[in-house]
């Protein structure tokens, strides 16, 4: 059972980490708001990096500051941390796939039957999100460094086209994306660290940026080769100001209380 509209939705992030810096937190806040429910259930899948404890604890330490119910599933520790994968994922409002090796992510998910489960979870209307390998996995193709040098690899194909992450930071990937799209790989997107793109069904509906200058670029093939078209992202900066620093926020709240303005206290 899901708590949302039921439209299949996916958010692809070009690069994001669970850190307490304002741009990273703004993205978390935006994802939680996109679920459209209060106190959303959020599940982390850190498969692509081999379920390292450090990433899992980073996730909890950031999510702990928001109104939500975070869990994680470690496919490498199922023996000790048993969970019914299908049931658990279907009852989430947001499933977040972390980054790492796209090749390994896809191989492991397929081996554990998660490719089918993810399809059903998506269709049931659970918001799927992910960064880097965890974003490319939802597309037909991604540009990954999982085998050393950047190369194209197959994803689950819930979304059509090709995705390239870390677009500004990793020129090698960008060059390969342009080359591959010229060479016949389906059109797609390049997304910078700190930016994201929301899809409803298979249609892109919103580009957003948690940090200044982060871009979402549409890449199509044209007669002169691959053509890049920068989309104008919604800035999440209003949220940044709001949650920039807990101490600052508290001070503001205090000031507003003194001035008699009713402010809802954040837990």
């Amino acid at each position: 059972m899901t708590h949302n509209s039921g439209t299949p939705r996916i958010v692809a992030l070009g690069g994001h980490e669970f850190r307490s810096s304002p741009p990273e937190r703004a993205i978390v806040r935006h994802l939680l708001e996109l679920t459209g429910v209060e106190n959303p259930r959020v599940c982390l899948l850190p498969t692509a990096s081999g379920d390292p404890q450090a990433s899992i604890s980073d996730f909890y330490s950031v999510l702990d500051r928001f109104e939500c119910l975070p869990t994680h599933v470690s496919l490498f520790r199922l023996e000790r941390e048993w969970v019914d994968l299908r049931a658990h994922l279907l009852e989430q409002d947001l499933v977040y796939a972390a980054g790492g090796s796209m090749l390994n992510l896809i191989a492991i998910w397929r081996a554990h039957g998660l490719a089918e489960i993810m399809h059903d979870v998506w269709e049931a209307g659970v918001l799927l999100a992910g960064q880097s390998a965890g974003a490319m996995c939802w597309f037909e193709h991604g540009i990954t460094s999982s085998a050393g040098q950047p190369r194209a690899a197959e994803g689950l194909g819930l979304l059509p086209g090709t995705l390239c992450v870390h677009y500004a930071r990793d020129p090698g990937r960008r060059i390969l994306l342009l080359h591959e799209i010229e060479g016949g790989l389906p059109a797609g997107y390049g997304i910078d660290d700190g930016a994201g793109l929301l899809f409803e069904g298979t249609k892109p509906v919103e580009a957003f940026a948690g940090s200044r200058g982060a871009r979402v670029v549409r890449v199509e093939s044209s007669e002169e080769g691959a053509h890049e078209m920068v989309l104008r992202p919604i800035s999440l900066r209003h949220e940044l100001a709001w949650s920039a620093d807990p101490a600052l926020a508290e001070m503001r709240q205090h000031r507003r209380a003194k001035a008699g303005i009713g402010a809802r206290r954040r837990r």
């Binding site: 990096s49 490498f76 520790r77 090796s101 492991i108 050393g148």
Partner: protein, 249 residues
Amino acid sequence: MERGNPLLDNYVLGLTGKVRPRVCFLPTASGDADHYVVRFYQEFAKERAGASHLTLFRRDRAILSVREHLLSQDLIYVGGGSLVSLIGVWKAHGIDEIMREAWEAGVVLCGLSAGALCWFTDSVTAYYGTPERVDGMGFLPWSFTAHYDTEPERRDEFHRLLCGGMRPGYAADDGAALHFRGLALHRVVSSRPLAGTSSLRCGPHGVLEERIEAQYLGEAKAQERAVGTHPAPGNPVAGGGPIAAPALA
């Protein structure tokens, strides 16, 4: 890599016939868990081995030809964890084919728990809680299960599967190891006095289990060192899982 018990590690090192063999650790089944990699380097210290490890999760940070690296080893050591993930990742990177090449070239292959199950055709793993049969890489054309003495459910399921048509095979206790030369079972050794292995098949009236006693390495250290001065091509050692290996991730 049994804590405080180097007997099986010494045994596999001895099989290479080298004074300071090149040993590569593959921690894939644990998701390349850092603490496991650290433990490998502690156990295979530089005085006695030229140790390296292969990460398949951060290949962008490792500049080497995986094939050349693996083929240049004397011993390949595969860690425990999730067999399903191990096989999935290896196939995605073509490691299964490289391993076969290494095996045929005479590199000693060894591993524990998931790292032992992977060499067989039918592997019985308990990774999802209830034991089940999973396809291994099929170098050794038998069925196999580890932790035979410590997990009764695995034993029951192994017997049930054998009578349901699964190919005959072997089961190993924690601390016991099967040493194959090519496809022939060469020796059974153990790092614990009571650990052993079984050969199992389905007979007309149920499972026929023949206990194969292991040679305890603790009393015969001097002899072990002499073994394998001329390693035969294809030398996998399938460890029964000293320590509960899947708990390593």
